[in-house]
Subunit: 384 residues, 2 copies
């Protein structure tokens, strides 16, 4: 399923030999049309990987015939030669499909700063082209994993019978501006590129963009939305956006739960904000407090660390009007101790921290994880 749940898409995931392990490391997603409308959103990091620079150009045209994705190397900070590698990859796919490279998007993920093993990668493209099929979605989702322990896939059926499917990878460098990840979302609805773009921007803004596991923004973040039109359904746009958003939210949730070393999925729910921007700012700032993330790991409802983080923002609030609940217990009221902290049950994996700024009607939720010794071990022992 995943990206092949909608009609008009074929996919493959193969072992190209880019990774030193024998794991799958190259995925291909092909849109057989009749439409090739596409949209993309990319990392806001100013240090962008070669495949991001390439795919931004491709998506500017609003049409994508295929996406080739590799794990085992980010092809970031690799200079002009790295860009040539991406270009050669797109040309190889285009040649195998009998198409123009200008409609081939490229995504890479893995270690920054090293060139890709192009011989292995290009052979892998041949292998993938030979294997693309209507049931290749799972293999493709498997092939884009790095430190992900499981594949992330999702699909939803929309009104009138069209489908939206998707796959994603995350794990490390999970931060703002798309949460350091690759994701390909497909649909057999018939939606033109311009509307796909608007839908994708709005959907990612409230899903992937509100995931901040470790505050580190990647050089490679890419989310693509491809529409084949093969269902013949022209959906209501608002309903279509809801369906795309549901798939994005589902994938984001899977990324969060599988973030490196995480034992808790923490929702920072900011209410009473003077603006949505304030709510997101406060949520993001709280989600980046290492001290708070350690406390939640230790199941300590340390609301003082929440207030200390809120206090570093320029959001509208008065310190003596801040309220904080952890898992529903209002342990901080009016900027001071509230209900008994021993009432807070932090044993479940899911933790909700509610911050009431008492400054307005707006709200937003940012999702993060706890900070664990396992995160440290994974990121000190593994060059990724």
């Amino acid at each position: 399923m995943s990206v092949t749940a909608p009609l008009g898409f074929r996919a493959a995931g193969v072992v190209a030999g880019i990774k030193s392990s024998d794991a799958r490391d190259l995925a291909l997603v092909v849109n057989d049309g009749p439409s090739r409308a596409a949209a993309g959103v990319f990392t806001r990091n100013r240090v962008k990987a070669a495949p991001v620079l390439w795919s931004q150009q491709v998506l500017a045209g609003g049409r994508v015939h295929a996406v080739v994705l590799n794990s085992g190397g980010a092809n970031a900070c690799t200079g002009p030669l790295g860009f040539q590698d991406t270009h050669a990859t797109a040309e190889k796919v285009a040649g195998a499909l009998g198409e123009s490279a200008g409609e081939i998007a490229v995504c890479s993920t893995g270690l920054i700063g090293e060139r890709l093993p192009m011989e292995a990668l290009l052979s892998g493209v041949d292998l993938a082209v030979s294997q693309i099929s209507r049931d290749g979605g799972l293999a493709a989702a498997d092939a884009i994993r790095t430190t992900d322990t499981v594949s992330k896939i999702s699909f939803r059926r929309g009104e009138g019978g069209y489908m939206v499917g998707g796959m994603a990878k995350g794990a490390g460098m999970l931060a703002p501006a798309l949460a350091t990840m690759l994701s390909v979302i497909t649909t057999d609805a018939d939606v033109p590129a311009e509307q796909l773009d608007a839908v994708l921007r709005r959907a990612t803004a409230v899903t992937f963009d509100r995931l901040d596991a470790d505050g580190c923004m990647s050089t490679n973040d890419t989310v693509l939305l491809l529409a084949s039109g093969a269902s013949g359904v022209t959906p209501d746009l608002a309903e279509f956006e809801q369906t795309v958003r549901a798939v994005c939210a589902d994938l984001a949730r899977q990324l969060l739960v599988d973030a490196e070393g995480a034992t808790k999925a923490i929702a920072i729910e900011v209410v009473g904000a003077a603006s949505e921007e304030d709510a997101v700012l406060v949520g993001r700032t709280v989600s980046r407090s290492n001290l708070l993330k350690c406390a939640i790991h230790g199941e300590d409802p340390n609301w003082g660390r929440v207030l200390a983080a809120v206090g570093t923002t320029d959001a509208v609030f008065e310190a003596d009007r801040l309220n904080v609940a952890i898992n529903g217990i209002w342990i901080c009221r009016g900027g001071a101790a509230g209900d008994d902290r021993s009432k807070v049950d932090l044993r479940p994996r899911d933790v909700t921290i509610t911050v009431d700024l008492s400054a307005g009607p707006h709200s937003a939720t940012v999702h993060t994880t706890d900070l664990t010794a396992a995160y440290v071990h994974e990121n000190s022992a593994y060059s990724s």
Copy 2:
């Protein structure tokens, strides 16, 4: 020595019973004059502890007779009652010394959100007043420790024979805007309050303010500079500033080395910046990359994580003109791989990461630590 190295100061450090352990937890520093000129800088966190709110008022007058400091509780997020506790503490010291509370500064450090045990604290004030002496500096430095494993003290002799001495505590919540800490610096030079203020602001801006161990800004940061004038020396102001800065830098270095769980002292040296602000911004952003801090802990010269952090700033730079050296080896040149990364020796405790933005003549250095499992353990097991 420490705060009692300069003439005109007495100090004490006693066991008041604020901490549950039998460790010293209350310190008193008294300026016997003839001058009582003083200056202070405080946390920029908008959630400020009661003693910060109080001491800001005291310092507005430019005169401090005594400073009372406690560990074992931050008296932050404690509401109007917490402020009354601070006020009562100052009144108690003032009464014991036969003075006005308006010249008594108060500092607190420890867990946020809980009231202080005032009975123990006020008895401790009596005990401290009875013990203040010319050699009480070490006991005072010991009494302000929280998770600090060692006391931090420093002193320098200035031209003409005046002295500058200081003590500090740090360990957790070590971040910008004074690096989450308390510090009292004393001098027997004769310098009026207005000039002390200018000197202290400039000295802390390039020392404590450029320390960022864990990105978490405290509610209690306070640095006080008290001048007794007892040496009779009126120093050259530029020379005096250098001496104060040397003491601040020495204390900041001690805070860094003793930061919670740290095994590496990392200097992020940003050169080639278009402005000093850009250099500090880039240094601070790199110092907050959990992924990079984990990599340095694992002695992995992962320069890609440096570039990924630089790319999230709005400093002036071009991605393909960035150069990065780790411990002197330029492993990234022109935004791509440079010298062989195996040449980088990351075994020493001190690590220097040089980021060349190739955008101008300005530079700055921000100091941070690695991220370790010990930091996670300390901050998940200990409510602080």
